[in-house]
Amino acid sequence: MRYLPKSPADRELMLSEIGVHSIDDFFKAIPGEYRLNRDLKVPRQMAESEIIDYFRERSQENAAGYAVFLGAGAYHHYRPVIIDALVQRGEFLTSYTPYQAEISQGTLQAIFEFQTMICELTAMEIANASMYDGSTGAAEAILMAMRITGRHESVIARTVHPEYREVIHTYLHHRDMPMRFVGYREDSGAINLEELERALSDQTACVLIQSPNFFGSVEDVDAIAAMVHRRGALLVVSISEALSLGIVKPPVEADIVSLEAQSFGVPLGFGGPYDGVLAAKEKYVRQMPGRLVGETKDKNGTRGYVLTLSTREQHIRREKATSNICTNQALVALMSTIYMNVYGREGLRDLAKQNLAKANYAATQFGKKGKVLFPKAKRFNEFVVQSKEDPHAINDRLLEKRIIGGLSLRKFYPELGNAALWCCTEMNTRDQIDLAIEAMQA
């Protein structure tokens, strides 16, 4: 598929077809006072050599060679080089929406395999072709639960990523869809079950939890699911650290899982792109938003892949579509597909074990010098450290040692005082961890 811009001849043709002489003529219907009478404020064009110089210079701003202890929804994992080598192949890089099965079998098969692996990892029966990211995926999961149950209220754990909660708020607050929030236990950082029980009603469409949650604590999904299902509501589990599925039991009791798969081979950039995905029980497939790829047979009986159940989607069902998402993150999902293939079942488990071991070591070391909150938590690779000093001051000092410290939680959880969320992945060496702890105290 080729996408070429309009040539001057094309423009001429289009203008003459509609009977106007020029672009200005075309826009005459817009009163002069509302038209922009100057050039756009964009930099002048650059020569190729200038562009290369420019980007070389900008690349110096990257934090290359720093030790990273930031997680909180954006994880620093190793990316096998094969990922970029494969996703940059022209067949993948330039192809757009795979509507036409007859010319898009490679893209469709890759998405189908992505969906299949997501199902195996999350213990769900169906998965879609991906969403924009974990936050919009979580919001869509709530809307999906509302369509299924016919109820309008959602109950959300305060330990769901605070920025995911902001996105959810944006989706719900003008639609007469009330939200209730449930706090966490001081000893474990997990959702407070007594509070959850009180928040549930016969109006509750769903409960949204995150596991491991924003503090890094793994939730007791089975117990929560039983409580939620007793009230006829659905359980939505959001997972922002996909690698946790290498070792944490998948949320098999959930009705819908919203996963952020960035950990699987997607680099950390200026806020994106990310790689959300929804997975659910098969009986809810017609209420699932977004694109789905299915396997079928062509007229010769040969295996083939097609977009399926498109009748739920906006380009066919217009305003009655399940969602206004009419796309997916195909190339980013492909990165994750390759990543999952490279590591495989055993590889993901080994990697998850490394994360767990390093985070445990770090938490133990921090515990000797300061206070690690939520001592009863079952953790994966994140933990909360409370300090005497403001975490921002500590982080400034760490930066001088080329260490990016934990995320200050003051903005989101002022009740925790000087607390920061730290993350350890396979990328953090023991030396880095020891150095961070040492520098923290200096």
Partner: protein, 129 residues
């Protein structure tokens, strides 16, 4: 097309068949033919209240999803569960494959619907032949 003489019809292509104070509802042969192969029928629940002109479910074909509009108001007393596993029954026998049975709240509403002759005329105009 032959539309059963004892049914009444809507402009949204549902049929309704009276049976005392109850009525069964389906979609017409013209509708199934326009939709193509039907793959899924979204049924209401027993006990749901239908109100005339409002949607109560949908029919999904390989081409489109179409809402079902209630020809008359009433409470759902039965749904045709057979359609859950065999939605194609509507394609093979649209006027026999009922979707819901309701307890009518106002039988008079049915009298306002199209007669078979009027419906036949309506679809011929709509179909452009």
């Amino acid at each position: 097309m032959a539309f059963p003489a004892d049914y009444r019809y809507t402009r949204e292509h549902e049929w309704i068949k009276l049976d005392g104070n109850q009525a069964t509802i389906g979609i017409t042969d013209y509708a199934q033919n326009s939709l193509g192969d039907i793959v899924f029928v979204e049924l209401p629940k027993i006990g749901d209240e239908l109100s005339v002109g409002k949607t109560f479910g949908s029919v999904e074909s390989v081409k489109a999803v179409s809402d079902l509009f209630a020809p008359a108001s009433g409470k759902v007393v039965a749904v045709n569960q057979e359609l859950t596993n065999a939605p194609e029954k509507i394609n093979s026998d649209a006027h026999g494959a009922w979707i819901v049975r309701i307890q009518l709240s106002d039988a008079d509403e049915v009298n306002k619907l199209l007669s078979p002759q009027d419906y036949d005329k309506y679809v011929q105009e709509e179909g452009g032949h």
